[in-house]
Each structure stands twice: as structure tokens, then as C-alpha cells.
């Protein structure tokens, strides 16, 4: 009995070791749990002001579900003041179905793929000799430059916005607050419009 006991223990240890090795060999590359913890549990949708104009506009076009999903996205959020002053009537009446297309285009112009922190934008500006072009989820681009220590973003129609608060981390991306609304390029926006008096 005494002879068999150590052998059984060895067998169990071997089996467990084999299990552990097998499981780890099937895993995806190691993710940094510290980085995930630093991002917190709140999604982008949850970290936005639920009574704010940006969230109301996102909800009106069904993008609130997008910002609560897996992402990851980088979202540029204009202040309520900026949204109130934006050109056109679309953002003033977000729930009107006729404004839905325009709002979708404006909001997807403020959503970028992946997590782009302010440092990443700064490095890209440095590498790009003073400017960096950033792709948006709407299929267009905007340009980032530096003005003093601030990051300035330029959209279509000469629209410009400065990042007022950067790197608000969420579990599915990052939010940068900006002080103006960036408008998608006019050429693309008007190109697809049907003729008048259809």
C-alpha cells in the first residue's frame, strides 16, 4: 500500500500537469489584464452623459447599441454647446426621421476604429511631419495637428475642433471631448443626394 501511494500521487501530478499545458497551448496570445482593469468596466455608452445631446443623437439613430457593444472605438464627443451651435437643423431635431441620415453621417465621422490615445495621435503627428490623417468609421478621414500643446482636429468644410479632455478610458474604447462639431466633407455628403423635386 505504502509503495503504491507515491506512484498514485505521481500519476495525478502528471495528469494535472498535462491538463494545464494543454489548456494554455490553446489560448490566444496573452492579454494584459492590468491594461483592461485600467480601462474600467463602463462602456463608452455608459460613460457618456445620458442626458447630453451627443447621447440623444446616438440613440436617435441606433448607435447607442454600437457604443455599448464590444468595439473598440475612439469617440470624439462634442460638447452640448457645440452641438447646439452646429450648422444645419439635423442635430437640433435628432428624432425627426428625415434627419436620420445626416446625423448618422455626422456621428460616424466622430467615431474612429480602435483605441487611439492622445499620445498615439501626438506620435502620429510627429511622424507625419506636423499632421496625421485619421480614418473614421464613416469611410472618410480627418486631420490632426498640434497647436501648442493641444491636439486640433480638422474635418470637412473647414470645421475644426480642439481636444479639451483626452483619454477618458472605457472598457470598449476611449473618449476624447472636443469643443466643436466636425462636419463630414461636403463633396461626399452632397454627392449622393437625389435631385430636387423628386
Amino acid at each position: 500500500m505504502l509503495k503504491t501511494l507515491p506512484l498514485c500521487v505521481c500519476a495525478a501530478a502528471l495528469a494535472l500537469g498535462a491538463c494545464g499545458k494543454s489548456a494554455s497551448s490553446n489560448t490566444a496570445p496573452q492579454q494584459s489584464s492590468e491594461a483592461k482593469q485600467a480601462a474600467g468596466d463602463k462602456t463608452i455608452a455608459a460613460s457618456l452623459d445620458q442626458k447630453g445631446k451627443f447621447f440623444a443623437a446616438a440613440k436617435a439613430v441606433g448607435l447607442d447599441a454600437t457604443l455599448a457593444g464590444p468595439g473598440p472605438y475612439t469617440v470624439l464627443v462634442p460638447s452640448d454647446d457645440a452641438l447646439g451651435k452646429a450648422e444645419g437643423d439635423a442635430l437640433k431635431a435628432p428624432t425627426d426621421p428625415k434627419n436620420r441620415a445626416q446625423i448618422t453621417r455626422i456621428l460616424t465621422y466622430h467615431i474612429l476604429p480602435g483605441v487611439i490615445l492622445s499620445d498615439d495621435i501626438s506620435k502620429a503627428i510627429e511622424n507625419g511631419k506636423g499632421k496625421a490623417v485619421l480614418a473614421t468609421m464613416g469611410g472618410e478621414t480627418l486631420t490632426a495637428t498640434k497647436d501648442g500643446g493641444n491636439i486640433v482636429l480638422t474635418g470637412g468644410n473647414g470645421s475644426k475642433a480642439t481636444v479639451t479632455q483626452a483619454d477618458i478610458k472605457a472598457s470598449n474604447g476611449v473618449v476624447h471631448d472636443i469643443d466643436a462639431v466636425l462636419m463630414p466633407p461636403a463633396t461626399a455628403a452632397n454627392n449622393g443626394q437625389p435631385p430636387q423635386g423628386k
Binding site: 506512484l7 500519476a11 495525478a12 502528471l14 495528469a15 494535472l16 498535462a18 491538463c19 494543454s22 489548456a23 490553446n26 489560448t27 490566444a28 496570445p29 492579454q31 494584459s32 489584464s33 491594461a35 483592461k36 485600467a38 436617435a60 439613430v61 441606433g62 448607435l63 447599441a65 454600437t66 457593444g69 464590444p70 473598440p72 436620420r100 441620415a101 448618422t104 453621417r105 460616424t108 467615431i111 474612429l112 480602435g114 483605441v115 487611439i116 506620435k123 502620429a124 507625419g128 490623417v133 485619421l134 480614418a135 468609421m137 464613416g138 469611410g139 472618410e140 478610458k169 470598449n172 466633407p185 461626399a188 454627392n191 449622393g192 443626394q193 437625389p194 435631385p195 423635386g197 423628386k198
Partner: protein
């Protein structure tokens, strides 16, 4: 002797343990492995159910374990030799996957699911009955109007012959280009990729009609198979000014999905009803239809003549490389949809939706998006349930209400300028954008860059700016 037997036992245990742990171990967000695992234990009954449902079977297979203990018990009976060990492992895998996907699913889950489903089924039966009556009535009207079937059949045959000739010409042009060494590769390949993604739906059109049995029905027989709202806009416009109860035999009116009531909001003066691809605004005091809004572009469908009011190309710049007009195909953009038109007959041949150009939330998902077509990396998050379907179309994954076919949310945005191995890094990806969890593993060096796009992290050669590899499929 005893030692010899025991040593043999030890060796056997050491060999068998990893083998049994292998296929069921892991537990790291690997949807494919998990789905396959669940499928193995499904038994014949589950397979039948899956076949009957059409698209999205793999995801339903994943959803199944959460539906209650009965099924788990059946699985246990089917695999007595595996016992509880596998269940425990499955539970571990589910726990490990947990996190966000679980939260998303929980948010979608309904508390009194069974009761709500019974009520829905009863309503659907009632609605189907009404719609069948309407269909029959319309069918009779259509048959009376037809009477020139043979003639139109001849026209169709002639058109088909012309179509074949056009295909021959196209093939010849491709051959000539190849012979001349012209390289239209990137544009053509990109266009074809897009088309393949869009037209993966073709195969499952019949299934979709079954899945969306309560969807855009109530159509005349000829239009019921078409991939859009079935009522011609001219006919729909005639309903404005008429009372709702008079039209109940003509249109299968429905209540709106609850998520869309935020957009089409009832007021003390009027309320909204949905029917046959149109949203109707109705006066509350006398139930008269005040106005209607087509929820599928212009309300025109495949096989109908494209309206002459749109003579210009008009395709948004971002999509122009994918839809160039040619002697064989004409493209027109209108109200959020791209129409492919036969330049000879002027008939609409295909309809594609474009997010952000009018199409999206609150609109009808084209019936042709029949098969479950969500990209692999997003499948663990977005799979079909009895409450929602998910479909991919250019730019987004949409959440669709199965009873009305209306889009109830944009579940995820997908970048139109996606990265692809062997292609140049698209403009706009100069900045590092890898998700938090992967930043310590994949960071830029002088020899390699890493960029995130549509669920994957890609390696880029900084010198050539070419995408060299997909290093990991990553979603937070």
C-alpha cells in the same frame, strides 16, 4: 510485478489526460471551438431544429445551453461515458468567455421569455391568418390583371439571352486585359470582395423567406419574393386620406418594435403603424392616414423600372470604386440604397443598402439578406435569437426585428477601409490604435507596426507600408 502494473497505469494516465483535455479545454473567446463543442453534443433533434431555422445555426447552437437544464440533461444521456466532467468544463469555458459577451446577451434577454414567446406566437398566428387572406385577395386581383403571361415570358427569355451575351463580353474583356497585362487587381478584387460578402445571401433566400415568415408578407404573389417592400409606391400613396379600418384588408398593419417607438413617437394627435415596407402616420381622432414614409429607399424593388426622376449616377464618393457604371451595369443612388440597373431595359437588377446615406435604423432590412452573414470575429457577440437577428451589410452589423424586418439597432460599425494582407495600409491608419489588452504584446517598433481594424490586429511593414499579417483576432 505490482510495480510494473502501476508504472503502466501511470503512463496511461499521463497520456490520456491531455488527450481528453484538448478539444474542450482553452476557453478563450474562441467561438469556433466552442460552437463545434456544443454541436457535438446536440443530437439529432438539435440538428433538425438547426436545419429548420436556416441562417445563424452556429450562433443558435451557442445560445442553446442557456435555455435550461432539460437540454443539458439530454446531452448527459446522449454521452453517458463523458459524465459530468465535460459539463463542468463547459461551464468553465462559459465563465471564462463571460465578460462582455455575457453582458450583451443578458441585456438582450427577456425576463419572462416563455410567456412573452407564447403571446408573440399567438399574435403571429393571428397576423398570419390576416395576411394570408390579404395575399389571396391580392393574388386574385393580380391574376385578373395579368392575362398576358406568355408575352412577358418571351420578353424575359430574350432578356436572359442578352444577359448571357453580356457575360460573354465581360469575360472576353477580362481575358484581353489579362493578355495586355493591365492590372485592375486591387479595385476589382475589392469590389468583388464586397459583392461576395453581399451576395453570400443569395444562397439562403428561401430560408430567409421562412425565417421572416411574419415579416414582409402580405404581398402579391409576384412581389412576395422580391427583396424589398412589396407594395408599389404608387399604390401606397393612394392610401393617404383613407381610414385605417377600411384598409385592413389591403395592408397588414403592425405595431412598431419597441426600440423604434423612440424614433416614430406617438403623440396625442397621431400615431404610427407599419405595413408592407411603409410607415403610416395616422390621425388619432378619425384614424385617417395622414402621410406615409417608405422604409425601403424609394419603395422600388428588383424587376421594377427605376424612376426617371433619378437620371444621374449620384453614388457617394466612398462607394464609387465599388460601383462603377459600365456598358453592362448602371448604378444609381437614391434614399440610402444603391440600385443596379440594366441599361437596356431600365429595370432594377439589385439593391444594396449604404449606412449613413439614409439607410439604417428604423428602415427595412432587404429580404435578400437571408443568410446569417456576420463576420467570424463578431459571431460570439451577434447571433440570431428568437428576439433579434443580426445581418452584416456594408459598414455595419444590424440588429433586425424578426417580425417586421425593421432594423432596431446598429449593433457594430465596421470600417469600410478595412486592412487586408498584402495590400497597402489605407490612408488614415498612421496612428497606433491597438486595443488596451494587446498593447503590451503588439507595439510599434522600427521593423513592425501593428494596427487594429474590424476585429483583427494586423502587422504592417513600416518601410513598404504593406500589411504583412493578421496577428490576432481581437475584440475587447
Amino acid at each position: 510485478m505490482t510495480r510494473l502494473i502501476l508504472a503502466a497505469g501511470v503512463a496511461a494516465l499521463a497520456i490520456s489526460a491531455p488527450a481528453s483535455a484538448g478539444p474542450h479545454g482553452g476557453g478563450h473567446g474562441n467561438g469556433g471551438v466552442h460552437a463545434a463543442d456544443q454541436k457535438q453534443g446536440g443530437g439529432q433533434k438539435q440538428q433538425q431544429a438547426r436545419q429548420a431555422r436556416g441562417g445563424g445555426q452556429a450562433r443558435q447552437a451557442q445560445a442553446r445551453p442557456s435555455r435550461g437544464g432539460g437540454e443539458r440533461a439530454r446531452q448527459a444521456q446522449a454521452r453517458p461515458a463523458r459524465g459530468g466532467g465535460q459539463q463542468a468544463r463547459q461551464a468553465q469555458v462559459r465563465e471564462a468567455r463571460g465578460g462582455r459577451a455575457h453582458q450583451v446577451r443578458q441585456a438582450q434577454a427577456r425576463p419572462d421569455h416563455a410567456r412573452a414567446r407564447q403571446v408573440r406566437q399567438a399574435q403571429a398566428r393571428e397576423q398570419r391568418g390576416r395576411e394570408a387572406q390579404i395575399r389571396e385577395q391580392r393574388g386574385r386581383q393580380m391574376q385578373a390583371q395579368r392575362g398576358r403571361g406568355n408575352e412577358s415570358a418571351n420578353v424575359r427569355t430574350a432578356e436572359r439571352v442578352r444577359g448571357n451575351q453580356r457575360n460573354d463580353v465581360r469575360r472576353e474583356m477580362v481575358r484581353r486585359n489579362e493578355a495586355l497585362g493591365r492590372n485592375n487587381g486591387p479595385v476589382i478584387a475589392a469590389r468583388e470582395n464586397q459583392r461576395v460578402a453581399l451576395r453570400a445571401r443569395e444562397g439562403g433566400r428561401v430560408n430567409f423567406a421562412e425565417n421572416f415568415d411574419n415579416g414582409i408578407r402580405g404581398c402579391p404573389p409576384g412581389l412576395a419574393k422580391k427583396p424589398v417592400a412589396c407594395m408599389p409606391p404608387g399604390q401606397a400613396r393612394q392610401f393617404v386620406g383613407q381610414r385605417l379600418n377600411v384598409l385592413r384588408d389591403e395592408v397588414a398593419f403592425r405595431d412598431l418594435p419597441s426600440r423604434l417607438q423612440y424614433v416614430y413617437r406617438d403623440t396625442p394627435d397621431y400615431y404610427y403603424r407599419y405595413g408592407d415596407g411603409y410607415m403610416y402616420r395616422i390621425n388619432r381622432t378619425d384614424d385617417v392616414i395622414l402621410s406615409l414614409l417608405p422604409l425601403f429607399g424609394l419603395g422600388y424593388t428588383v424587376g421594377q423600372p427605376f424612376p426617371a426622376a433619378y437620371p444621374y449616377y449620384g453614388v457617394p464618393a466612398a462607394y464609387q470604386p465599388f460601383y462603377p457604371s459600365s456598358p453592362y451595369y448602371d448604378y444609381r443612388y437614391a434614399d440610402g440604397y444603391l440600385y443596379q440597373i440594366d441599361p437596356y431595359s431600365g429595370l432594377i437588377e439589385d439593391v444594396d443598402p449604404l449606412l449613413g446615406y439614409g439607410y439604417g435604423y428604423g428602415q427595412v432590412m432587404p429580404l435578400a439578406y437571408s443568410a446569417y452573414n456576420v463576420p467570424y470575429q463578431y459571431r460570439p457577440y451577434y447571433y440570431d435569437t428568437s428576439d433579434y437577428y443580426y445581418r452584416y451589410a456594408p459598414g455595419a452589423i444590424y440588429q433586425v426585428d424578426p417580425t417586421t424586418s425593421l432594423i432596431t439597432a446598429v449593433a457594430a460599425l465596421l470600417s469600410p477601409n478595412s486592412l487586408a494582407i498584402g495590400r497597402p495600409l489605407p490612408i488614415g491608419y498612421g496612428a497606433y490604435n491597438v486595443p488596451y489588452a494587446y498593447r503590451t504584446t503588439y507595439y510599434d517598433t522600427p521593423y513592425n507596426w501593428y494596427r487594429y481594424s474590424n476585429g483583427g490586429i494586423y502587422r504592417v511593414d513600416p518601410a513598404t507600408q504593406l500589411v504583412t499579417a493578421l496577428v490576432v483576432s481581437a475584440l475587447t
